[in-house]
């Protein structure tokens, strides 16, 4: 469903050129959940944004659903992959009501039945009609992230791109949002690509995980290998060590 072939992305030119992503290749099958982990600045979010069509690759290629997805995207290609961002405070327009936030992608995609789609999308993320005409500041962080998920789902995508979807949320709210995401993924058969710096969150959601360091994938692990701490690369081991060091075991 998602295929990256030696993808490179750089910013700036000449002496100021930064190679954020350097020759990254991986493939995510339809219905699979794939995770990208690494520290800030390793290029994980840049890859996600390039897949969404927000950045133009400087080398290599992206294929979505078997077709090349370059800088110029068709409407159908943009509909295919939808993104949920980290910060629910920054990713929703504060001057728009929830209703308008959800109506916009429908208008862009030329989809009708607005009156039935909006309540259905809200219900799917656990919000009710009473939230429909509120502004983002009248909602809690968790409710805002639910709106962001509804906005992604409303155009019925097949790929969900999740950029740290719970790292701005409280622990108890994180659990609710992770459950919601798994449920939606399973009921719609979505392909998920998730970026996080939190190994426990990635291990919960994904079956395969790529570890990134300085713009490159150093290692790809199955989730069982991650749980057994069976990492080959030194960087992955240090990442695992710091996550396990502070982890309280299950009660």
């Amino acid at each position: 469903m998602i295929e990256l072939e030696s993808l490179s992305i750089s910013f700036g030119r000449g002496a100021n050129r930064i190679d954020a992503v350097r020759g990254v290749s991986f493939a995510v099958a339809a219905g699979e959940s794939f995770g990208l982990v690494g520290e800030s600045g390793c290029g994980k979010s840049t890859i996600l944004r390039a897949i969404a069509g927000l950045y133009r690759p400087s080398g290599g290629s992206i294929r979505l659903d078997g077709k090349p997805a370059g800088a110029a995207r068709t409407k159908a290609q943009r509909r295919l992959a939808q993104m949920v961002f980290q910060d629910p405070y920054g990713s929703l327009n504060p001057t728009h009501t929830v209703d308008r936030i959800l109506a916009e992608p429908l208008a862009i995609q030329g989809l009708g039945e607005v009156e039935s789609r909006i309540p259905r999308a809200l219900a799917e993320v656990g919000l009710g009609g009473e939230h429909r005409f509120r502004f983002p500041h009248q909602l809690s962080g968790g409710q805002r992230q639910r709106v962001a998920i509804a906005r992604a789902l409303i155009v019925e995508p097949r790929i969900l791109l999740l950029d740290e979807p719970t790292s701005a949320l409280d622990l108890s709210v994180q659990a609710e949002i992770l459950n919601l995401l798994s449920r939606i993924r399973d009921s719609h058969g979505l392909t998920v690509l998730m970026v996080s710096h939190d190994l426990a969150v990635i291990a919960h959601m994904c079956s395969r995980i790529a570890v990134m360091f300085r713009g490159e994938i150093v290692e790809t692990l199955a989730v069982e290998q991650l749980r057994r701490r069976a990492a080959g690369h030194a960087y992955t081991r240090s990442l695992l060590a710091s996550s396990f060091e502070t982890a309280i075991p299950a009660g």
């Binding site: 962080g141 459950n179 291990a203």
Partner: protein, 281 residues
């Protein structure tokens, strides 16, 4: 922990008066702090940060702070005048905040900020303060202090910026360090490194640490005792090593809803909030 507490908090409340109603951000919080590492955990709105600021009286005027007792050694923090509080802030109780990007002065080199923090409290010459700042940079494991001294905050990484903040707060040798989410803006590997450093410094200097965080794992790994807050109230106080056997349903609920690396789970349990938690404690 020693017999004589460094900080005594008895029935502390912070209330914000609004036109029609009063909001209790902190209600009836009591505990004593010895020379130990005390963790303060809770989710957003639990009052944990308000509590940290109340001790230093750094809250806006609309906040009413009341307590049966709030004292640092023999200083009454409730009744001390502003002049006395200036002596307390920084020199006796220091505070490290979450994001070094916003808590360092962007137009002053990091070295000068540390030197200034020393000169405010100690009567020394400029060159003595500079020497001291360089020593401090070294003790927070910055390898070339002479180069870093002359850098501006935007020229250092997040991890280094946070070390600079810690150096700045520790240079007047305070009795109590309040660290409010000191590492939550940082990557996990740097987080662990920085906490070990902080731990080492406070143990060596015999300081008391109040570590405020929403991260249960981190608090359990680095503190001696834990205070769990919810809705401005203390739900329970326990040894950090016994946090996993927490008795309060709120703490148990929080522990249960964490995803775990070690074991797969289909659905995460979610927290059921009991309105009675807001009455008791």
């Amino acid at each position: 922990m020693t017999a004589t507490p460094v900080l005594t908090v008895d029935d502390l409340s912070v209330a914000y008066r609004q036109r029609a109603s009063t909001i209790h951000a902190v209600k009836g919080v009591s505990f004593t702090l010895g020379r130990e590492r005390l963790g303060l955990v809770g989710e957003s709105g639990s009052g944990k940060s308000t509590f940290g600021r109340a001790i230093l009286r750094l809250l806006p005027e609309s906040a009413a702070i009341t307590a049966r007792r709030l004292s640092l050694g023999d200083i009454d923090l409730l009744r001390a005048d502003e002049r006395a509080m200036r002596e307390v802030r920084g020199k006796r109780i220091a505070m490290v905040l979450q994001d070094p990007k916003y808590s360092l002065n962007p137009v002053m080199t990091v070295g000068r900020q540390i030197a200034e923090s020393y000169r405010v409290h100690a009567h020394v010459t400029g060159s003595e303060a500079r020497e001291r700042a360089l020593d401090m940079l070294e003790s927070v494991r910055i390898h070339d202090p002479n180069r870093v001294y002359d850098l501006y905050p935007h020229e250092v990484s997040g991890g280094m910026g946070q070390r600079v903040m810690i150096a700045m707060m520790l240079v007047p040798e305070p009795d109590v360090l309040i660290a409010d989410e000191p590492t939550s803006a940082l990557d996990v590997t740097i987080q662990a490194q920085l906490l070990r450093l902080l731990d080492d410094l406070i143990v060596r200097r015999g300081m008391a640490l109040v570590l405020i965080s929403h991260n249960l794992n981190l608090i359990a790994a680095f503190c001696d005792r834990v205070v769990v807050m919810y809705g401005g109230r203390v739900m329970e106080v326990c040894k950090a090593s016994e946090l996993i056997r927490a008795k309060h349903p709120y703490t148990q609920g929080l522990l249960a809803c964490r995803p775990l690396i070690q074991e797969p789970r289909r659905d995460l349990p979610t927290l059921r909030r009991d309105p009675a938690w807001m009455d008791g404690a």
